[in-house]
């Protein structure tokens, strides 16, 4: 019996993977149901730790999506035709990333039934209002950009009939011609989205920890580098697992080099920002710098992942990969850059919402909030991640745009 299952799994690796992904999706659906029916009380989110793992997931998904979108927009705006195959992959990733970010947010906002309020009741002084409006417009643009790719799905013709399918494809071709306009408008809103997310941390009342006027620009630059690296990594994986070629490797090396260069610019900016911050004493901020760089909870993710491996290490591998023409180096660099972004978003959120403003107990009591995400939070995060992976895998398998070509055996 077990041998038979193992044999069938080996014969159908794709569907085995899809079936395995259904486990975390089911757990995520259960956790999501509990959160929606019982409220945030089933999580470890409290008044003293109001933003937790879901916000980290939201920032990571939307950050990677934003960088992917930036790459595709640049390909259209700079008329880099050789980037087109990768740009199409990048837009698909952007759609899924933003979809995942919005799913995580829907769980987190506490009043999910009022998700539409920011569209109607404009709070122009609120950073989160700007976040909502930006992601709404930007997500709409990404949907329009992906439409021509999805319209080519043969399944649509079988379900809706050839005439409707033809009309949808015609609409898709028409929308494709507007791609440069979408790219331009999308670039504006991807930047306002990332910058308002970064700026949100600068205006959290009573929590001066991550207050930097440079936060908005840090969010834009780091997401651009990691998002391009993520698109490179996903393309490498799809080609390797599917034994096909979608994007020429020279384009992947070039994109990796772009990500590495942007990462170096980001590190340079952070170095000067840290130097300026250390020049004088700023209540809250100065203590937070010490916490970030020395405390057990933050020092490893900060020095190892954010700055070391995920920062400088990733940049070196990404830049070096093209010179050595090494796919292994490219994959290592891309993976490290993604990990660096996750560590950065985790540190930023935890510093802002679980660390006290001062170490004076009468001012801030309790001194430190020990936030650890519980099973419901893990359930939703893993469920969203698994659902995104499943949709991505199905898209790569069935959408004609990602069919690719068989590679040739290398000559000795």
């Amino acid at each position: 019996m077990l041998q038979d299952i193992a044999r069938r799994a080996r014969a159908n690796p794709f569907w085995t993977m899809a079936a395995l992904l259904l486990v975390p999706i089911a757990f995520g659906a259960y956790a999501g149901f509990r959160v929606l029916t019982e409220g945030l009380v089933v999580t470890n989110l409290r008044d003293l730790a109001p933003w937790g793992q879901w916000i980290v997931a939201d920032l990571t998904f939307s950050g990677l999506a934003a960088g992917a979108f930036a790459f595709s927009a640049l390909a259209y705006l700079l008329r880099r035709d050789r980037f087109r195959p990768m740009a199409q992959m990048a837009v698909f990733i952007a759609l899924l990333g933003d979809g995942g970010a919005m799913l995580a947010l829907l769980m987190d906002i506490g009043q999910p039934i009022r998700f539409w309020h920011p569209w109607v009741y404009w709070q122009r002084g609120s950073m989160l209002w700007l976040v909502t409006i930006s992601i709404s417009i930007y997500f709409g643009i990404v949907l329009l950009e992906v439409f021509p790719t999805v319209a080519g799905l043969p399944l649509i013709g079988r379900v809706l009939g050839r005439r409707v399918h033809g009309a949808l494809q015609g609409l898709g071709h028409w929308l494709h011609r507007l791609a440069p306009v979408f790219a331009l408008v999308g670039m504006v809103f991807y930047m306002t989205h990332q910058s308002s997310l970064g700026a949100t941390y600068g205006v959290v009342a009573g929590r001066a920890a991550p207050f930097h006027t440079t936060m908005p620009i840090f969010f834009i630059v780091s997401s651009t580098a990691a998002g391009i690296a993520f698109t490179v990594m996903m393309t490498l994986l799809v080609q390797w697992l599917g034994r096909r070629v979608l994007v020429p490797r020279e384009v992947l090396f070039e994109a990796g080099q772009m990500a590495g260069a942007i990462l170096l610019v980001y590190l340079y900016m952070r170095f000067w920002d840290a130097s300026v911050s250390a020049y004088g004493y700023t209540p809250g901020l100065s203590e937070a710098q010490i916490t970030l760089t020395t405390s057990d909870k933050f020092a490893i993710p900060f020095w190892v992942w954010e700055m070391g491996l995920g920062g400088l290490g990733a940049a070196i591998f990404l830049l070096w990969a093209r010179m050595r023409r090494s796919i292994s180096m490219l994959a290592v660099g891309a993976g490290l850059a993604i990990a660096g972004l996750v560590a950065n978003r985790w540190n930023t959120t935890m510093l802002a919402f679980t660390e006290p403003l001062t170490d004076n107990p009468p001012v801030t009591d309790p001194l430190v909030v020990n936030y650890v995400p519980n099973a419901m939070e893990w359930g939703v995060t893993l469920g969203v991640l698994a659902a995104l992976s499943l949709v991505f895998a199905l898209g790569m398998r069935y959408l004609p745009a990602f069919k690719g070509k068989a590679p040739r055996a290398a000559e000795e």
Binding site: W240, L246, L309, S326, A331, L336, R408, A410
Partner: protein
């Protein structure tokens, strides 16, 4: 010396740094082997695929 703190830090380094690095390196080497054994088709073929 508080051994629980030491153990906690060792676990963080092993599972938070070591394990992800080993997985990433293994994946990168596996991909590298396959890519080195193959060549891309001409760009014109790939471009045509996207239209």
């Amino acid at each position: 010396m508080d051994f629980s703190v030491v153990i906690q830090e060792v676990l963080v380094v092993v599972f938070g740094v070591g394990l992800p690095l080993v997985v990433l390196l293994w994946l990168a080497v596996q991909m590298g082997v396959w890519y080195d054994a193959h060549e891309d088709p001409p760009f014109s073929e790939l471009e045509g695929e996207q239209e």
